[in-house]
Amino acid sequence: MATKKKGDPTVDAAQATATSGNGKSNPELDRELLRSMLLQRRFEERCAEAYALGKIGGFCHLYIGQEAVSTGTLSILRPDDYVITTYRDHGQALARGMSPRNVMAELFGRVDGVVRGKGGSMHLFDRNVNFLGGHGIVGAHVPIGTGVGFAIKYRGGDQVCICFMGESVVNTGAFHEALNMAGLWKLPVVYVIENNRYGMGTALERASAVHDIYERGASYNMPRAQCDGQDVFAVRAATQEAVDRARRDQLPTLLEVRTYRFMGHSMSDAVSGTYRTKAELDENMKRDPIMLLRMHMQEHGELTDEEIQRIDADLKAVVQDAWDFADKSPEPPIEALYEDVYVDTTSDSTAEPLAAD
């Protein structure tokens, strides 16, 4: 865990030691958080099934184990804020409020998909919730997030952009260029590193000379923090500080959220046994973020077993409905092939630029 450097005002104290909650009980909020996280879990369990059945093709990267990060961070945002992310994007898309039906249809490659079947798993996008997409190239979206922050500031808005990335992104040139510019120009962007410890199969320690990677923010004179990514309350607290700083002071933050993925890198990757041991996985699964939240809620008398079962059944039905919807959605017509390559070949469905005000 991080050590706070004396006399360094840009390192904030948000790095929590990951005890749940703040002592105050907020059953309604907690239930929302639980629903959000459990929806992602149930949705992705069915994604794995659909992949095995060949309904989802290509490359599919599951988020299971990291749900406290998407839910914890995005539950702090306003509807008019912006989100941009990497290829492991299902969880964030759902946590931001994208329709499970249209997300599943996209994964199935159908015309009712969020981008009409042209993007697939790694490229979810929805302008209605200012979700600027998953991106299939590691690090390439980070300068885009910087540009979104630039546009917000240029127009004098008070929105914030959260730019997610995995920990391996910090080794790309794009990361360095983008964060330097954000630090230099003081842009309202929160760069959230989801440190799940492996870039595909390469451990952080084998790829980065610095292991507490939030410290990289020092190079850009950027406020920075580290928090426990399995504890949704710790994520919320750290995000709240960063978002306040962006909204109020138009300053960026580099927030490292330490988490762990319970699945392989992609569907073709063994869950353990190659680059990480089963023992390591088992140890980390003891800190399942959904389980931790449930325990917290039960300890505080916010949730009964019956309620849990009811919520779970409800979410499973939502996911089944998404599956059925996707399954029935037609395949994209060949005529759509040349649509939206250029503005003059654009289909009616294409809308205007995203509004910043």
Binding site: F125, A140, I144, G147, Y154, N180, D340, P353, A356
Partner: protein, 325 residues
């Protein structure tokens, strides 16, 4: 109205477009305080301030990426590459990200990436290139490469107003050597429209950018020495290509020579040749020929550079072969 240079025409376009639309802003390395490596943006920051004319770190990926992010938000960034050779750093951003944004995410990306291109200036291998082919090859991008001062201004204004990303190649040899008189008012030249720079009957020379002027010289020489009437077509925009203009001149003269300063293999001459084959084969009286740079990196030494790049004599020689076929 007074004549202005190709470079001044570009500057005028930037001033007018920034004046017209507050969403237009410029960013690049040393474009504000310094005025740009070639002084294209001189005076811009004084007029519009540092918020709209932004000196950036040397971060081509970051600059192009940030411009794309701002463009998604409805702004119209104009990015300067200090030399267009450096756009190679941002190739990923442009071809993978920007080019596909509309297609995969409904995201418009109205931005311009402009910069000094081309040789004949003893710039050596990293300050003389014509890397347009890689971008022409990428669906989702548009490419303009003006030869005249009038087009430099009119095409840049179109590029800035276009709702897609336009790569705008400026020929640095022409910056201060070519002058033109700007038409009055809002002078806009549409993208995707070629121009017949010289009417002719016997053969067609299709070209763009600096080699337009060599083709025109060659046409004069062919007329004087051989009595041949060469038509010269300036493509102006390379993506989208003006197929109508290419077909019209082919059907008119039945003999086509394509000239470009880019290297031969994979250059746009091959693409144009294929299109003529597909659409105008029955009209051809001779194979389509091309004059291009040799397939080597561009050397510095004047004698070598002059040999590698197309010269007027090369065009005259090839045209004679074509006419005699």
């Amino acid at each position: 109205m007074a004549e202005i240079t190709y470079l001044e025409a570009i500057r005028e376009a930037l001033f007018e477009e920034m004046e017209r639309d507050a969403n237009v802003f410029c960013l690049g390395e040393d474009i504000a305080a310094y005025g740009g490596a070639f002084k294209v943006t001189e005076g811009l920051s004084k007029r519009f301030g540092e918020q709209r004319v932004i000196d950036t770190p040397i971060s081509e990926v970051g600059i192009v990426g940030a411009a794309a992010g701002a463009a998604h938000m409805g702004m119209r960034p104009v990015v300067e590459m200090q030399f267009i050779d450096f756009v190679a750093n941002a190739y990923d951003m442009l071809t993978n990200y920007v080019a596909t944004a509309r297609y995969r995410a409904d995201l418009p990306c109205p931005m311009v990436v402009r910069g000094p291109s081309g040789g004949y200036v003893r710039g050596g291998p990293f300050h003389s290139q014509n890397p347009e082919a890689g971008f022409i090859h990428t669906p989702g991008l548009k490419v303009a490469y003006p030869a005249t001062a009038e087009d430099a201004k009119g095409l840049l204004k179109s590029a800035i107003r276009d709702d897609d990303c336009v790569l705008f190649f400026e020929h640095k040899y022409l910056y201060r050597r070519i002058k033109g008189t700007m038409p009055a008012g809002d002078h806009v030249v549409p993208l995707g429209k070629a121009r017949v720079a010289r009417e002719g009957r016997d053969l067609s020379i299709i070209t763009y950018a600096a080699t337009l002027w060599k083709a025109l010289e060659a046409a004069d020489e062919l007329e004087r020495a051989d009595g041949l009437s060469a038509e010269v077509v300036d493509l102006r925009t390379l993506s989208p290509l003006d197929d109508d203009a290419i077909q019209a001149t082919t059907k008119k003269t039945n003999r086509v020579l394509i000239v470009h300063e880019d290297t031969r293999t994979g250059g746009i001459a091959g693409e144009i040749t294929a299109r003529i084959n597909e659409t105008c084969f029955a009209w051809l009286d001779a194979p389509v020929l091309r004059v291009t740079a040799h397939d080597v990196p561009l050397p510095y030494a004047p004698q070598l550079e002059d040999f590698v790049l197309p010269q007027t004599n090369d065009i005259v020689t090839a045209a004679r072969v074509l006419a005699a076929y």
